[in-house]
């Protein structure tokens, strides 16, 4: 299979200037998408419009934290999108779990499961930040810099193994036999990790006073 290359020249320009965003409000950052789309900040000037289905979209926005249940749907949508596709992570929750670093239901590092092309900082980035991020994306696509989808295709093994740790990939990935194989390999490691994680551990609430402070 020839090594896929990010688009250049006319293709790059066209793909840059007309990014169709998948209409999927995954996290709390989605409340800042309507202001960006509507009359005050209007991202449609850059040719970015929300599209209803992954078949038509080429930009997947992960707006904020991702629970495991949403991650499954995001991966399913990501795999249904035609190439070349780009993923943009909003806020600190996609970088290192953000405010929910200690939650049992949200994933901490999105980069393990999906190839992220661009992060936009801000615990829910403002419309100006989102548009700045999009202009970065458009410039990058024109220069052919963002190759997240190529990384995903080449390191499918790595990504699938990480995904298998948190979810049942046999049901949720398009490539059935690869998922089956990886799922069986990872089963052991996953069970061990789950045992360690769900050790019953009662901590005394009232007494926990941080050290080094006067009583």
């Amino acid at each position: 299979m020839t090594k896929a290359k990010p688009p250049k020249g006319l293709k790059g320009w066209a793909q840059g200037r007309s990014l169709w965003m998948l209409h999927f409000c995954t996290g709390c950052g989605a409340i800042e998408m309507p202001p960006t789309m509507t009359s005050r900040y209007d991202m449609e000037r850059f040719g970015i419009t929300p599209m209803a289905t992954p078949r038509q979209a080429d930009l997947l926005l992960i707006t904020g934290y991702l629970t495991v249940k949403t991650l499954k749907r995001v991966i399913r949508s990501y795999e249904q999108m035609p190439e070349p596709k780009y993923v943009v992570g909003f806020g600190s929750c996609t970088v290192n779990g953000g405010m929910y670093w200690d939650s049992y239901n949200t994933i901490k590092r999105l980069d393990l499961y999906l190839p992220i092309d661009l992060y936009i900082a801000g615990c829910m980035p403002r419309p100006e930040a989102i548009i700045d991020g999009f202009t970065e994306l458009i410039e990058g696509i024109k220069k052919g810099k963002f190759d997240g989808w190529i990384r995903y295709k080449e390191n499918l093994e790595y990504y699938k193994r990480n995904q298998a740790m948190v979810m049942d990939i046999r049901k949720w990935s398009l490539d059935a036999e690869l998922a089956e194989r990886i799922w069986n390999e990872v089963q052991e490691e996953r069970r061990k990790r789950f045992e360690r994680a769900t050790v019953k551990h009662v901590y005394e609430l009232a007494e926990r006073i941080p050290e080094g402070l006067p009583k």
Partner: protein
């Protein structure tokens, strides 16, 4: 702030439920402690006397006493009084009758508490369906003996990430900053 409305409610409860210890917490708030099997008749009785708004069921895991406390919140639109009916259910294997015949929206709160606290509610047929957590085979997460920090540290691998990044040639993004 005269409390006669709240006192009327307390007397209302006292009339037919002597074993319930009802006391006024503050204006428009009344607390009632009742045994688990008396909850259904009390809620039915109060529903008959104007407490038509079933606000919620809360659950508190008193791990030191080994019990889970269920608090049924009712609100009376005419008297403008909020009643909190409290019962104690053993932590493991505790079960309560469902309030679906009285308020069929209670079913949602019962599913929520069953999923997060493990309290069983007979008569609620949607109990075994997945409500919020999907493919979760760990213990009910809201109980005190489940440590979420331990889980998030162990389950979602967050060990050293540089080696992975190098292997995948992910360069830290040096995007040009606007002047």
């Amino acid at each position: 702030m005269s409390l006669e409305k709240e006192q009327k409610v307390v007397d209302l409860i006292k009339v037919s439920f002597e074993d319930a210890e009802a006391e006024i917490q503050r204006e428009r708030r009344v607390k009632v402690k009742v045994a688990p099997n008396r909850v259904f008749p009390l809620v039915a009785y109060l529903k008959g006397n104007g407490f038509k708004h079933f606000v919620a069921i809360s659950a508190v895991d008193w791990i030191r006493d080994g019990e889970i406390e269920l608090v049924y919140h009712l609100w009376n639109y005419d008297e403008k009084v909020h009643v909190m009916i409290k019962t104690r259910v053993p932590r493991d294997g505790g079960s309560m009758p469902t309030l679906k015949p009285l308020f069929n929206q209670a079913e949602t709160y019962e599913r929520d508490i069953h999923e997060f606290f493990g309290v069983h509610f007979e008569g609620n047929e949607k109990l075994d369906r997945e409500f919020i957590l999907e493919d979760w085979d760990g213990p009910p997460p809201m109980r005190k003996d489940f440590d979420t920090r331990l889980f998030s540290a162990e389950f979602y691998d967050q060990e050293d990430l540089e080696s992975e990044a190098l292997r995948l040639k992910i360069q830290p993004y040096k995007g040009h900053l606007k002047k």
